[in-house]
Subunit: 148 residues, 2 copies
DNA sequence: ACACGAGTGAGAATGGTTTTCAAAAGCAGG
DNA sequence: CCTGCTTTTGAAAACCATTCTCACTCGTGT
């Protein structure tokens, strides 16, 4: 139920393409805010970011927009230890993972073909189909390790 | 306050080792409930499970006990897509991962020394210290693939 | 049995996220 | 520039998992 499942009415006189989002001031503000930061941010932080920039966008709209973007694969979502959702616009839309500094939040995008293969092999071993996986690394970045 | 000052005991008589949990009816109920299921369950589901068994344990206590068990490494915790925490008593307390059927929730415990090494190597490459990682596989188990 | 701290539970509080719904904005055609 | 239709928005309320509060009970060592 967390899906952005809109009922696309086929009776629409001249309905455009399905799934086409209307470009609005608010949505622009969200994507721009995402562009100004390099690490994962919560919806509320993004909301504050926009506010600090002078614009005013409702929190609900930020959540909606973020969900839509995540849905479209434009942003990556992951959950903090506490279960809070954090978002980040990634350089690539391709499948990849992250190495996140648990102190400052700095993030590196990483790929691991070996892991992908390994996951597939494990799946086959157990007879599981349609294997997918979630993998995130956490650590302390050089900067934070140097100056605690 | 009627301070019966005779207990000037600096070495508290009744606080021996830290981390020693007192065995109570409630805690037994929780661990037993965990023993009757093979897959990951939410705190509330476990609470219901206990209730269905005739026992009555407060939800808050279930949460507390689960947290303690997770803390002790006796149960594994992971987050569902929606951010809900789910718990499972695993066969081993050693570090491992899971292959979870996304249809029926059946779970296999898996180990991947190669992945551990890979994670460490990645960390070193980027100069990150104290590398840890979260990894879960999802798929469709043979049973569910056969009879949808 | 006694005392005292750990453990418990009902309900309130928290806090992130979603929903509601009426008003505002977009879009296409007249 | 109007008109009718749909999408989007936002403030506040609803939701819901989880945690906290606090008076009370239980387990344990003496």
């Amino acid at each position: 139920m967390t899906n952005t499942d809109r009922d696309r009415v086929s009776a629409a006189p001249s309905s455009p393409e399905p799934g086409a989002l209307r470009p609005t001031r608010q949505r622009t503000a969200v994507t721009e805010a995402l562009g100004t930061v390099a690490d994962f941010r919560s919806a509320q932080e993004i909301h504050d970011l926009i506010a600090g920039h002078g614009e005013k966008v409702g929190l609900a709209t930020v959540y909606r927009t973020l969900a839509a973007l995540a849905d479209a694969g434009v942003v990556d979502v992951l959950r903090t230890e506490e279960g809070e959702a954090v978002y980040r616009r990634c350089a690539t839309t391709r499948h990849h993972h992250h190495l996140v500094c648990r102190t400052c939040g700095a993030t590196e995008e990483i790929e691991g073909p070996a892991v992908e293969d390994w996951a597939g092999a494990i799946g086959r071993t157990f007879g599981y189909a349609d294997i997918s996986h979630e993998l995130e690394l956490f650590g302390t970045c050089p900067k934070c390790a140097g100056a605690p």
